[in-house]
Structure formats: C-alpha cells, structure tokens
Amino acid sequence: MSKCRKLLLATAVASVAATPALAERLGIGRAALPEELDAWNVNIMPNGDGLPEGSMSVEDGESAFVDNCAMCHGDFAEGLDNWPPLAGGRGTLTADRPLKTVGSYWPYLSTVWDYVHRSMPFGNAQSLTPDEVYGITAYILYSEGLVDYDFVLSKENFTEVRLPNEDGFYVDDRIEAEFPLFTGEPCMTECKAEVEVTLRAADLNVTPTDEEGHPVGTIPDFTVAAAGAVATDAVEEASAEDAAEGEEDVAEAAEAHDPELVAAGERAFRQCSACHQVGEGAQNRVGPQLNGIIGQPAGQVDGFRYSPALMTKAEEGLVWTEENLAELLEKPRDFIPGTRMSFAGFRDPDDVAAVTAYLKTFSE
C-alpha cells in the first residue's frame, strides 16, 4: 500500500468519525496531488486569495494588451464590432442603453484578473503569464481613468484598488419584492375592457426568413398533396439527367464556382470568423483579413503583426496556393510550428475543400 493511500484512508476514517451525519464513504477516487491542485486551483477570490506573485506597469501592460487583446477589444479597450468594450460607460447604468464595463459595472478587480488569466485571449486561453495578467489588468484600469500611467499593479497592492460599482449589487429579492404581487387567484373573466395591439414584431422585421418570407424553421405545409416529396424527387431526377447528358460541362462549372461548395465553405468559415474577416471591408483582427489570400505571398497583409514562425516561412518564399492552404487548414501547427493561429484544424477534409472554395471567391 502506498504512503498516499494510507494517508487517504487515515484521513477518511478520522473525518467520518468527526462528522457522523455524513454517509459512509466508498473509497472511490484518489487523493489530489499538490502539483495537480496548483495547476487547476487557480480561481481568485474577491479578497485576493489565490493571486500569484507578480507585477507589471500600465506601460508594459499596454504592450501586452495591444498584442493579445486589442484585436477584439480595441487599442483603447473600447470594443470592436460586436466584441465587448472593457472601459467607458460610467453613469450609463440608468440610461436607455447602459454600457456595462469593468469601470461602470464590474464589482471586483479579482474577477478581471481571474477571467483574463483563465479564459483569455479568446482562442488561446491560459497562455498569459501572471505578470502579463497584472499588466493587462493595470492597463484596463488606466483606460478607465482609475490609475495613472506610472501605476504598477502587483500582488501586494492588488486589493487596494476598488472598482467604482462594488456596491452596485444586491442579493436576489424577487421572493419579497415580486412574489406577493404575482400570487393569488387570477382573474378569469372580463379582466380588461380593451385589447389593442401595442407592439408588433413584424414592424421590426429582424427574424431570419425562409425563401417564402416565413420565419426560418416554419413547419412546411403538408395539407397540400405530397408537394415536398414529389418536388424533391423531381429535382433529383432532373439533375441526374443533366449530369448524364453533359458530365464534363457540369464538372467544369463545378470546379470554377460550385455554389454548394462555396455555401458549405461559408458555413465552415464560421469556425474561422472569430479571428479572420473576409469580403468587403474586411479588416485585420486576431488574424489577418483574407481577401485575395490564394496566390498571395505569405505574411503580406498590411498592418498585421505575424508570428516570427510565419515570417520565417514568408522569407523562405511561401506563396499561398489551394494545396498549401489546405495543409495549413488541416493542421496549422504542423504546417507552421510556432504559429499564433490557435485553431486546431478542420477534422473533415470536406470542410477544408469548402473553405478553400469559399476563400477563392474573394480574390482581389
């Protein structure tokens, strides 16, 4: 019997005796090791419990922020596209459109440190050092005007910083504040004099619709005679005939611009769109914009900071082709070891072909 197992048993016996209310233990599992606890037990409490040693200035934090955060949250933490702003919005919580940020809404700085450390950057979580997290947190405080540019955030002074909205929360009071109003035998007849339509979703018209203008997902009309089944079969037969008549033409057209493949590519590209934009007005984000990527020398998109690994490939003369782009999309880290691209790669080769076809439609 290992020392560890003996310790576990001894502890178990002792504490069962100490807490007789608890059920008998089954002896399942094993003791967690200190190294394992260190690796996973990293959440930070509002009083700073759990913070590791470390520090960084606002100035250095700004660099870390620009490198790791600004592609979504903006250079000034103002938020790009639909990504959340991290600063601003103080005094807006009672406005028509409140802006909830670290400065205007978040109650505890520990939450910022904890979240950045464990869950950010989006697509490359747990890659920042504790020092960088102190720096990024300090920069967010600075962008909110809560500290000066020469401020250095560290484990030691962490709890001295309080966020403006710390007292802006109270515990759920629905039971006291709402339940008495919403309890009791409800009215059943003649409960109101007039029923007028006051608001219509049709006026906003923001629901995605199908080809017939109905909301997507509308149940097909099966009260008419077998229309769906017949139509589908007819289409299948017709296309089979076409294919038989001119197989070469069809194959050629498909290769030039297969709309189904492109549509499949557009869907598969959603996996890329957290980091890459393509099409009209596409801009660099976490990754470079991808207009005209096929046929383009690697590492050439204006204003994008590539990884040293990719720049080495570029200097070796890498030019993007359908073939090498497919290799990249299958296993980015095998194709360019050291790339910052955090995507693991498409598992399905059909997705690779589809995305390549989709990207080809955006040639410059």
Binding site: A31, G123, Y170, D172, L204, T207, H214
Partner: protein, 422 residues
C-alpha cells in the same frame, strides 16, 4: 385538471357569435371528398417495393421530411458562433422530452471534444481530502435518474423592449428538458468530506472559458446531479460530454459542461459569469445578483409564427409548455382574446418538479382572429405575470429572467405574429 381529453366543444364565443361560416362548418360536420383519393385508390411505390434494410443507418436521424426541425441561431445576436447560443425548435416538438440533437446549445469557448479516458474531476478546497476521479471512478457511485428543464437565464431576453422575434423557437427556445442519469453531487462531496467552514461550492468546466460559477452548499447538497447520460444515451458533445452538472430549477449557466473541478469555499468566487453577466440591472442603476431560480413561465408552441394553423376552422388543439424552477406546475390558463377571458387548459400527464409540462387547450376555432396567451401557475401559488408587470418593477435593461406572458396574434389565415397587447 385531469389528463382525459373531453370532446372539443364549440367555444362559448362561437355559439354567441353564431357566424354563418362557423355554424355551417359545424353543422355539416366534415368535408366531402371531391373524388377518390389516389393515395388510396392507386398502389403507391412504398406499398409495392421494398424499404431500407436494417443497418441502413446504424444511428438514425429523423426522416428527411422533418429537416426543418433543427436548432437555429440568430446571426446578429452575438459576435461569432463560438461564444454564442442557438434555439430549440420547440414549435415543432411535442410531448415534454427534448431530443439531444436539437436541444439548444450555449458555448462560451466552443463545444470541445473530451474523451472518457482523458476526463478528470477534482474536488478540492474546504474538504477533508481533496480527490481526483476518473470517469471510470464516477461509474462506481450509485446513480439516480431525474427529468429536469434547463433554461438559459436570457431566454426571452430579446423581448424586454417589445415583441421582436417571430417564433416560439426564437422567443422561448433557450430551453430543453431531458431525463438525466448521474450521481448526486452530495454523494461526491460526502466522499471528499465537507469541512464545517465550507458554505459554497465553485464549479468550472474543462473548456477554455471554464465558465466558473458559485453555488451555495445548501443547493449543492440538495438536488444537484453530476450527469453522464441524457435521454438514455451519453451526453452529446455540445451538452458537455462526458460529464455535466445539472442544477434543477436554476439558470442554465450554472449547469457547467465538461465539469472538471468542484471547490468547496467559504464564500462566492464572484466570477465573471456571476458579476458582469447573469446579474439583472434594475431601473435605479443597481443590479440584482444571484438570481438563480427560473420563475414559472409558459408558452404556446402551436399555433405560433413558425407553426401556422393551416387546417382552417374547426377542432384546433392549442398546445404549449409550462415550467417552474420552484417546483411543479399546477395549472395553466389559456386566453384566446388577449387576456380578457381565461380558461383552464388540460395538463398532459403528471407534472414533474422543475420539468417541462405539456398543456392542451382543445379549442374549436371559428376562423376569426385570436390573441393567444398562456399563463402558468406553480405549486407555490405564483402566477406568471405579464411583461408589463415585470417591466414596471425591472425596467427594460435587466436582460435576464423574462418570464412574462407571450401573445400570438393568430390571423384568419392561420398565420401567427409575435405581438404585445394592451
């Protein structure tokens, strides 16, 4: 009300109005055929030739005629599809159980693939012995089976400002209801031995977001499940395979997927998901926190904007779902006139606690426009409020926990629109 359907009777309104169309249709009883139906008189291919053999599809998907019954998202809601949400097609489902394949998804860093071999669960913090379990370890604990709804706190959140989205899938589809098999969290916590100073637990997932949340120990020891199976099969990837937390009656964000760690603490961690998100901003600029319980709510799923009524006047089963995070649904009322008059609906089967309940209102439609509403009542006596009653207290910016009464305006052609009424 009992679960015995009585024969539909013409509504009081139809009698009183006595419209020629309604009266005529009812008097005639049923339509006459315009000629023999070839579906009956001619031998159809499926009655002559052979169908698929067994093993044609080792794991079956719905027949192609049901291809519209899928999860859908609304592109403009979120910045991308990785940290996003989609909606259960509740308008096209019946009964109470949600098939896993079309049950709504909410991910914060995408749906990950974590195998049973690689799975580890750690229990640490204020316990006698921090423990690590493998999936194989978890299978040794006694199991139990329970059916619960899981509703995202933001379900109907887009409707705070007014009627917005066309369809029960989009207004109320951030919900599913499954039968879970798993180990009670209490069993696992007792295995580690909670110290007397332990008052809360902190739970997190194995994905990149980790989605950490705090839960009071009282709830953790009450009815929380560590689940491996849903609806009789392993959890789907998008629902947290191989292990997720089930927190009955409480908001979906607490149902941490790919559960990897449970820490016993003396207070809440105040993570990002319970401070900057999942707190409810009130009109005075302060915010409610720890609004965990999902209050009683109901929705008519058919007819609805994506489930137009195409059969015309006559018998029309109006149906929907009701649920409460405080326990069982005891009654559902339905109104066809925008809340002026109400009638009790029939509950199908025995309502489960913190589970979806199906209701039916066996209506005979006279073909005139209707303003359909439903109103749930739970075992605490709580009556589902109107949206305006909620707005009066909470304003328009609380985002979460909108359980107000929904109105569908059913037109004479049977199509329905999402509206609000006075």
């Amino acid at each position: 009300m009992t679960d015995t359907p009585s024969l539909p009777k013409p509504s009081r309104r139809a009698f009183l109005k006595g419209s020629a169309v309604a009266a005529g249709a009812l008097a005639a009883g049923r339509a006459a055929a315009s000629g023999p139906d070839p579906m009956i008189t001619e031998v159809q291919p499926w009655a002559q030739y052979l169908g698929d053999g067994v093993d044609a599809v080792p794991y079956g998907m719905p027949i192609r005629f049901e291809s519209h019954v899928v999860r859908r998202n609304v592109d403009w809601l979120t910045a991308d599809v990785i940290s996003s949400i989609n909606f259960t097609p509740i308008h096209a489902l019946e009964g109470t159980i949600t098939p896993q394949g079309c049950a709504f998804e909410r991910h914060h860093s995408g749906a990950i693939e974590l195998s049973k071999q690689d799975y580890r669960l750690m229990i640490n913090g204020l316990v006698d012995q921090p423990l690590v379990f493998t999936y194989a370890d978890l299978e040794r604990f006694p199991r139990s089976v329970h059916t619960y709804f899981c509703e995202c706190a933001a379900n109907s959140g887009m409707e705070w400002g007014g009627a917005q989205l066309q369809g029960a899938q989009f207004t109320h589809g951030m919900i599913h209801n499954m039968e879970y098999t798993g180990v009670t969290l209490r069993t696992l916590l007792e295995e580690a031995g909670v110290k007397p100073e332990g008052k809360w637990i902190y739970i997190e997932g194995a994905d990149a977001s980790s989605n950490g949340r705090s839960i009071p120990l009282e709830k953790a020891l009450d009815d929380v499940l560590v689940a491996f199976y849903a609806n009789g099969e392993a959890l789907r990837k998008e629902h947290g395979y191989p292990v997720r937390l089930v927190v009955p009656g409480w908001e979906g964000n607490l149902w941490v997927k790919w559960l990897r760690r449970i820490e016993v603490t003396d207070g809440p961690t105040e993570s990002r998901e319970e401070t900057s998100k999942y707190t409810d901003l009130m009109p005075d600029g302060r915010a409610r926190k720890w609004t965990w319980v999902m209050d009683a709510k109901s929705i008519i799923t058919s007819p609805s904007p994506q489930a137009p009524w195409r059969q015309g006047p006559g018998p029309m089963p109006i149906t929907g779902l009701a649920w409460s995070g405080h326990g069982k649904i005891t009654r559902v009322d339905v109104s066809v006139d925008g809340g002026k008059n109400w009638q009790e609906a029939r509950l199908a089967g025995e309502p489960g606690s913190m589970a979806l309940t199906r209701f039916y209102f066996d209506h005979v439609w006279d073909g005139s426009e209707m303003m359909l509403q439903s109103r749930a009542i739970d075992e605490t006596g709580y009556v589902q409020p109107t949206k305006d009653q909620l707005r009066e207290i909470r304003g328009l910016n609380s985002v979460y926990h909108n359980n107000g009464i929904q109105t569908w305006w059913v037109k004479a052609n049977g199509e329905a629109e999402n509206v609000e009424v006075s």
